[in-house]
């Protein structure tokens, strides 16, 4: 008997539901003796972190690379995703002989706090009630996510990361790590990111959140208990966000004004254009694997992010006295996190006397460029990591 599209979708949703509490892969559990103090002013306890590792931690634990994922990513950075079955989201970058060489480095990637792939988030079961947290989970911030990662890293017995690397929201976490745990970060590679979320970005996120909350199936955030799903709202949120990840050029190259499976317009609101049908597909695929409340929490965390504000308005102060080696990367066509934001970080790092490199990579692929095949990005990451590894005395990996 063959499975229908609806069956398949239900299976994927069930898999996603299971991963929220009992993920495939590794879990670090933190009990009542190790509460996580949240910026919102409450302690989260107990809680858990779902994570994956690749490569081998060396004897003196000096080769750990923490990869921080972006908004809707997860810990399955370099191996098949258990929900979608698709390859890891950064397999192009991580593996034997790749820029983040798993023959040389021990790669850790954890699902962020507030996520829905095994780390405590709104889709997790609240041990106090036996029901999903929903909106009863306190608001999460980027510093909270980083504090949770810090607890995981310490749990693994690692006192200093060789490198913290990530793009977009992952890059925010990298900057937060470098600012809050200066002595624990030997090198940092924030990509396509900024030290604060812009008003325009907050605006886009608000559109997404409103789409979710306007969906009658959302039920005030209690949909998991009431067995409904705000799929339409979440899909619209994803569609709007997806546009911001691309560039006009990239959309034009991919789709132009071409029709989908037809030669002429239907004079209806069907998905006549290829770009429409692509966005609808992106929206549908996303709702199968992602939790709507998680989307609310994680976008909010990005909105609140502003490192300078935490340091009296001075970004340079956030990094003063740092010994971390930084390499900041931006892309020319990224309008979500434009180069100007990266330059602000670089200027602040210069002002604080940090060792910083900065490259703006020419690409017409928009914000998403950091996830795609960009040889210049790979060359820069490889070069920066190789040089940092030499400085740290790590033995060379296998040659690609």
């Amino acid at each position: 008997m063959s499975m229908t599209r609806a069956d398949l979708s239900t299976n994927v949703q069930d898999a996603a539901r299971r991963q929220a509490d009992e993920p495939d892969g590794l879990i670090a559990r933190f009990g009542a003796d190790e509460p996580l103090m949240l910026d919102a002013g409450v302690a989260l306890s107990p809680f858990q972190i779902g994570y994956q590792t690749y490569g081998t931690l060396n004897a003196d634990k000096s080769n750990a690379v923490l990869v921080c994922h972006a908004l809707t990513g997860d810990q399955h950075v370099a191996s098949a995703n258990p929900v979608t079955g698709k390859p890891g989201w950064w397999e192009i970058m991580i593996g034997p002989g790749r820029p983040i060489d798993t023959d040389r480095y021990f790669v850790i990637c954890s699902n962020v706090l507030g996520g829905c792939m095994g780390t405590t988030g709104p889709a997790s079961i609240d041990p106090a009630t036996g029901e999903p947290f929903g909106l009863t989970l306190p608001l999460i911030t980027i510093p909270d996510m980083v504090r949770a990662q810090w607890m995981l890293v310490r749990r693994l017995g690692i006192e200093s990361l060789f490198c913290a690397i990530g793009g977009s929201m992952g890059g925010m976490q990298v900057l937060q790590w470098a600012s809050e745990y200066k002595d624990m970060v030997f090198s940092a590679l924030p990509i396509a990111t900024a030290a604060r979320h812009s008003a325009q970005n907050i605006a886009f996120h608000e559109v997404g959140r409103q789409a979710i909350m306007a969906d009658p199936q959302w039920r005030g955030g209690r949909y998991l208990g009431e067995n409904t799903r705000p799929s339409a709202g979440l899909a619209v949120a994803r569609m709007a966000a997806h546009i911001t990840y691309l560039s006009d050029m990239a959309l034009h190259r991919k789709f132009g004004r071409r029709f989908q499976d037809r030669d002429a317009p239907t004079f209806s609101f069907d998905a006549d254009f290829q770009v429409e049908s692509y966005l609808r597909y992106q929206g549908e695929a996303f709702v199968e694997r992602f939790d709507a409340n998680s989307y609310l929490y994680v976008t909010r965390a990005m909105d609140y992010f502003d490192i300078a504000e935490e340091h009296g308005g001075s970004l340079a102060k956030a990094f003063s006295g740092t010994k971390t080696r930084f390499c900041v990367v931006s892309f020319t066509s990224d309008w979500l996190f434009p180069t100007a934001g990266s330059r602000q970080v670089v200027h602040a790092l210069n002002a604080s006397g940090a060792s910083v490199s900065f490259a703006e990579i020419t690409s017409d692929k928009g914000h998403d460029a950091f996830l795609l095949d960009e040889p210049e990005l790979f060359a820069i990451c490889r070069g920066f990591l190789d040089a940092a590894a030499r400085a740290r005395g790590l033995p060379a990996g296998a040659q690609p």
Partner: protein, 213 residues
């Protein structure tokens, strides 16, 4: 803003003008190299002089090379980006074979002496006899092995002679600590030679400046 815009390097050897510049750098100092190209000078200073070096480079290829070599280099433009560096952030700021390609040489020099107590500037001397002769005899904009560009596609927009540069330094009220003129092979022109001799026979000039007071 690469060195290669204006200079030709011998493969496998360290550029002669780098050695002259390096000779003027205090070991262990904190140095910013503006227009650092592929990082050749920064590497030399790091490896031979124990310098804590940083670079600014306009070309992406140059930045990639530098980062791969483990140097801390920021992609940027001397004309716009020096303004973001704080006062006294470095002991020494180097501008090697780049000042003639800046839009505002005077402003760039001011920033250099603000960011660092000292500055080293090297540039092709437009007062060299060969260039003078070309203009006089052929009536055309001069070109040379070191300055191979035609007038319409050159990155070099503010040529000066050695004496012009000295005038600018006086205007900025900076002090010339050391100076050298290099011949076509990058060798130093006789040290005791008078100014007019340098200006005529030096193909390149290197000046080490310091802020007064």
């Amino acid at each position: 803003m690469s060195h290669d815009l204006t200079m030709s390097a011998t493969p496998g050897s360290i550029r002669a003008d780098y050695l002259v510049v390096a000779g003027m750098v205090t070991p262990g100092s904190k140095v910013l190299d503006v227009g650092c190209g592929d990082g050749g000078l920064l590497k030399l200073l790091r490896d031979e002089k124990g310098v804590d070096g940083r670079g600014i480079e306009l070309s992406r290829a140059g930045v990639n090379d530098c980062v791969a070599a483990g140097l801390a280099v920021v992609q940027g433009d001397a004309d716009t980006d020096l303004a973001f560096y704080p006062d006294n952030a470095f002991d020494l700021v180097i501008l090697s074979q780049t000042i003639q390609a800046t839009r505002q040489p005077r402003v760039v020099l001011e920033h250099m002496l603000r960011i660092g107590r000292q500055a080293i500037v090297s540039f092709p001397n437009f007062g060299h006899w060969r260039l003078r002769l070309q203009l006089i005899l052929r009536g055309r904009m001069p070109t040379s092995e070191n300055l191979p560009y035609s007038w319409y596609d050159t990155p070099n927009i503010h040529f000066c002679t050695l004496r012009d540069f000295v005038d600018l330094v006086r205007e900025l009220d900076a002090e010339i600590e050391r100076s050298a003129a290099l011949d076509g092979w990058g060798r130093e022109v006789r040290v005791n030679a008078p100014w007019w001799f340098w200006n005529l026979f030096g193909e390149q000039a290197v000046f080490k400046l310091s802020r007064k007071g």
